[in-house]
Amino acid sequence: MSSTVQTHAPHAHSPHEHSGVAHAAEPKTNYLTANYGWKSWVFSVDHKRIALMYLFTIAFMILVGGVFALLVRLELATPAGDLLQSENYNKIFTMHGVVMVFFFLIPGVPAVLGNFLLPIMIGAKDLAFPKINLLSYYVFLVGILLTLTAAAMGGVDTGWTFYTPYSSTYANSQVALAAVAVFITGFSSILTGLNFVVTVHKMRAPGMTWFRLPLFVWANYATGLIILLSTPVVAITIVLVALERLFHIGVFDPAYGGDPVLFQHMFWFYSHPAVYIMILPAMGVISELIAAFSKKRVFGYPVVAFSSLAIAVIGFFVWGHHMFVSGQSTYAGVVFSVITMLVAVPSAIKVFNWVSTMYKGDVLLSTPMCYAIAFLGLFTVGGLTGIFLGTMGLDIHMHDTYFVVAHFHYVMVGGMVTAFWGGLHFWWPKMFGRMYPEAIGRVAAALMFIGFNMTFFPQFILGYMGMPRRYHFYPEEWQVLNLVSTLGATLLGISYLLPMIYLPWSLKFGKVAGKNPWGAKGLEWEADSPPTTFNFDKTPIVTEEAYAYPEGARHQPEAKVV
């Protein structure tokens, strides 16, 4: 952006500086080689190193949560409870939910891609509070360790929603420990959100106005606001549950007039916006991918930017749609339902704008773009089925069935996880300076799309027939669809394992990537690959809007190879 337009991908060993003058090849240290030894990592306050620590930690948690998911699907291959006992099945789906929600879906895009890219994209040397960033990682780690301890000490069987009075009074498992773990993890999330918000406000490079920000930054900013405003409420709610369990100092026990529905209000005040904490950064990734691989400015940039804020704001006032049949008043239900309908609109706007961005572009179907296109399809289905559940008359039937399970997996896995993989492939050369293998990347993306639909589409049908979620046993007539789902889950698991193998492989054997292998716009593509510790040799001065691709921009021939 601050440089002249780069019309070809620079060669790896002759990086072009901002002026376009080529320097002689000399080994330049980057953030990976700046210093060595384990201390230089575990005490690092470099946002990029912290991002990598998050990446490896989260990758581990994906595997943990994935094993739980696999066990759930294996058990459900038959209607009888022949693989696991009910109490273990309940603990496994709970752990699947807790691990995936708190340790992958929520931190996935912001803490890995956001941490790495947000300062670079706005031309800063680091986030505003590097030490707090490191602190947030260790808080996250403590949360994980406590969760795994809870699992090892017998597990939790409340479902990730911790509904009272089951969690506060009746459950006979490690609820208190898990509650503390979730509480602590929430702090990690708060610290990251706080850091992002302040960074976007205060650390932008000269010339980087709000309307020159990449949409990924907008999305992470909106996410930061949601985190600040919602996470503390679930923190105190969880504290109340833990106090009730440990010391009988409780406010939810119906035995003396406590209202379990109040727990649901306080829980969903966080946990519905949390859905947007998961999906908004993913939407930011998709904006970047589609622009880069269509060689075009995102269609209706300001509209897409503001729709992120609109989703963040409106998304706060819809939580009651989780409670239509829970005993909330009809009046409240009507209000929450109508606002839920409204929040569908900005999401729809985003999808239409993304599709329009491809129009008359120079569309290259590389692996990240394949993921982006898969996202468009899966998120559209996920979003539309959200309307089913937001309408009161239909939700009476669908609430707590597999329709809900399918819907949120379409949004979360089809949306957030797909975008996470797409973004990881897209910025992989930036993070490590190596290209991933393109052909197998596309195969993995295609396999993911097929496996995903096979896993979760049958669950819509099961849901409408009335199969309740969190069921260990189910009526026999539903076995075929469940079996299809289990088979699909196997494919899906393989498709997720593939990048976990070939991406590490590429660190050593991948083609060396230059500064800008995609010929993409954005400050991150003007930094070295991998970037230096302070990202830029001197603070860039921004003179252009985001995605300032020239008329007739085209992909380079070498990008099209494979």
Binding site: F43, S44, V45, D46, A124, K125, D126, L127, A128, F129, P130, K131, I132, I190, L194, N195, V197, V198, H201, K202, M203, L228, L229, S230, T231, P232, V233, A235, I236, T237, V239, L240, L243, E244, F247, H248, I249, G250, V251, A255, Y256, G257, G258, D259, L262, H265, M266, F269, T533, F534, T539
Partner: protein, 227 residues
């Protein structure tokens, strides 16, 4: 990494001004989360008070309103000394920073001491929620929810004060080393903001817990419904 130069400017900021503004904004962002954190408790308070107004009036009359008012005064005093500590830091007067911060801490501990006396009285009157809870000779009334909230709210508040006091030790140590200058005293400012926020929480807790439900009773009457 995270190098800080002689003026206190960290490597990733352009100038002290940017650093200061970032810290202030960051602190306010943090205070937003604190507002929402206590807000959840206040929300529960409002819901149950509308559901069980009588139990709420009964519960509030069990609290010692005089001690509550004294404690409010003490905490406001500590807010003043904290504000003065920040003011001295802005002038670079490190000795006075240490003095006022110490005074703030002492007042904070006075508050916590009074709180302990109050908690002890509740314990003696079987007003700790749980199996032993008794109000007016009965177990299991809605008053139990009032006291659960009372202990959670005041307990969380006290917990925040203890954290604040811990941070103040650090400020005092740094002030004794003459670390604060008019250009660089962000720590004191931030801890000041935090302490004032804790004060604000109490400004709401005092009337909500101690005062509402007393109208129609004689001033200073410590116990109403307890038999």
């Amino acid at each position: 990494m995270s190098s800080v130069d002689a003026t206190g400017l960290a490597h990733h900021f352009e100038d002290l001004e940017q650093q200061r503004e970032s810290a202030t904004l960051g602190m306010w962002a943090f205070l937003i989360t604190e507002i929402m954190f206590f807000g959840g408790l206040f929300g529960a308070y409002v819901v149950y008070r509308t559901m069980y107004p009588e139990a709420w009036d009964n519960g509030s009359r069990e609290l010692d309103v005089f001690l509550g008012a004294v404690n409010t005064t003490v905490l406001i005093g500590s807010s003043l000394t904290m504000a003065l500590a920040v003011r001295c830091a802005a002038k670079g007067n490190n000795k006075q920073v240490a003095g006022f911060t110490l005074l703030t801490m002492v007042l904070g501990f006075v508050f916590l001491g009074v709180k302990v006396i109050e908690y002890k009285a509740k314990y003696d009157h079987h007003l700790i929620p749980g199996p032993g809870f008794m109000y007016g000779g009965h177990a299991g009334g809605h008053e139990q929810i009032f006291f659960a909230l009372y202990f959670t709210m005041t307990g969380m508040h006290a917990f925040h004060m203890i954290i604040g006091a811990g941070l103040m030790i650090w400020v005092i140590l740094r002030a004794l080393k003459n670390s604060y200058t008019p250009q660089n005293h962000t720590h004191v400012e931030m801890i000041g903001l935090y302490w004032h926020f804790v004060d604000i929480v109490w400004i709401f807790l005092f009337p909500l817990l101690y005062l509402l439900g007393r109208h129609g009773h004689a001033i200073g009457a410590a116990t109403g419904g307890h038999h």
